[in-house]
Symmetry: C2
Subunit: 240 residues, 2 copies
């Protein structure tokens, strides 16, 4: 029984008209401060320049009253063992997942979050790697991770930055929905949640609610894709 | 010295305002009929339903006077050994590459095209797998191929369906150019050609020319991205 998890998965860190992470501040504060946590371990592996990335994240989170440590400043496993909350940021999902494998961190993060109550915050690629696998990332496979399997903090896939087809476009590349449905042609594929910019999933123990600025799109194999309103209880998807 | 290759790499099979493959008919005819070839071996691995895919391709190509055999109708290696020309169509690049590995066809196709003069036609995913690797595909990693390395008929990467940023969009996901530049941060990355819809590369022996309806975008590591006009001689990129 997995019952201690406290997880917030953001589609993105950047929404038009908001500062970095600002659209999600209320929910980030509830997750962290609501649990009396002000120290955050940041994992910048999805971008190449870790110092630059840390500076960008720290500039915002320190203003909000949080102390940010980055995993590249010390021994990764020791820092995860000591963490109260982990934030994995966006960038390239393949680069991120490969770095988690290279540093042998997947089992440890999973255990810390699912069994020991460490808070998890993810955005974009950091949301992708929180799921069962990165099969529905939008990123290019710039490096080759040893597997597509990810942290499995939740038992489904997410497509961050979900985009509706542009009905005015003459571009004939596959739409996002077509790509997700191609995945679901496979017998091993499961549920996919398309999180539009500004959407997020809040998982507290065994409940999961859609939060944020806009509807999301839910893909269940064998069913028509469905629109989900903000506030919808999606807890049943944690047990599929 | 690789000197016998005859390769046509299309960004896509579908361009707005044209029938399937129609925008490239002149160049396809030159490649095939210009070499007195009317029999084509089709590889439909990028889509799930091979019969459906064959029917769609055959409907067009048989109208143009070609005889299309699909690789799923017989023994794959025997069919490749007998082929005069190979056409690999689009769909999901990961599914396509995995099927080529599962059927142990990469070395054989490479040898047939580079050493024995078999003509190669690719579109979209079929263009991606013709290159050194699929690192710059737009597709989702719905399956896990044993490597990202591909047929290596050319020594660079291609991004098919290359898209310019939509300046009116408020979407904050990475642009195509940002994704390609993230790849080129890696020391092992090389040249990437972004083929816009309607662009194609024609490789004859040791020459390569940009053909088609519109400019392409050339990414050389360490340099600013460049626009390339239709008709530009890109042969130097075959020897990098």
């Amino acid at each position: 029984m997995l019952s201690s998890r406290q997880i917030l998965l953001l589609s993105t860190s950047r929404v038009h008209g908001y500062e970095f992470l600002e659209y999600a501040k209320e929910h980030i504060d509830k997750l962290l401060r609501g649990n009396n946590v002000t120290n955050l371990l940041f994992i910048p592996y999805a971008l190449k320049d870790h110092d630059f990335y840390l500076a960008r994240v720290d500039a915002v989170l320190s203003k909000w009253g949080y102390n940010v440590t980055s995993i590249h400043k010390g021994d990764p496993k020791t820092l995860i063992q000591a963490a109260q909350a982990i934030y994995i940021g966006g960038g390239n999902t393949f680069r991120l997942l490969k770095a988690l494998y290279d540093n042998d961190l997947l089992d440890l993060i999973r255990k810390r979050v699912l069994e020991e109550g460490v808070l998890y915050l993810g955005s974009s690629a950091g949301t992708n790697v929180a799921t069962r696998g990165i099969h529905t990332t939008n990123d290019m496979p710039i490096v080759y991770p040893p597997s597509l399997d990810a942290l499995k903090l939740v038992p489904f896939n997410i497509n961050p930055h979900y985009l509706d087809p542009d009905l005015n476009s003459v571009h004939k590349g596959e739409t996002r929905q077509e790509r997700i449905l191609q995945y679901q042609e496979l017998p091993e594929a499961g549920v996919v949640i398309g999180l539009r910019e500004g959407s997020m999933l809040l998982i507290e123990n065994n409940t999961m609610i859609l939060k944020g600025l806009c509807k999301s799109r839910l893909f269940i194999p064998g069913q028509e894709p469905q629109e989900i309103d903000v506030g919808t209880d999606l807890s049943h998807l944690l047990n599929r």
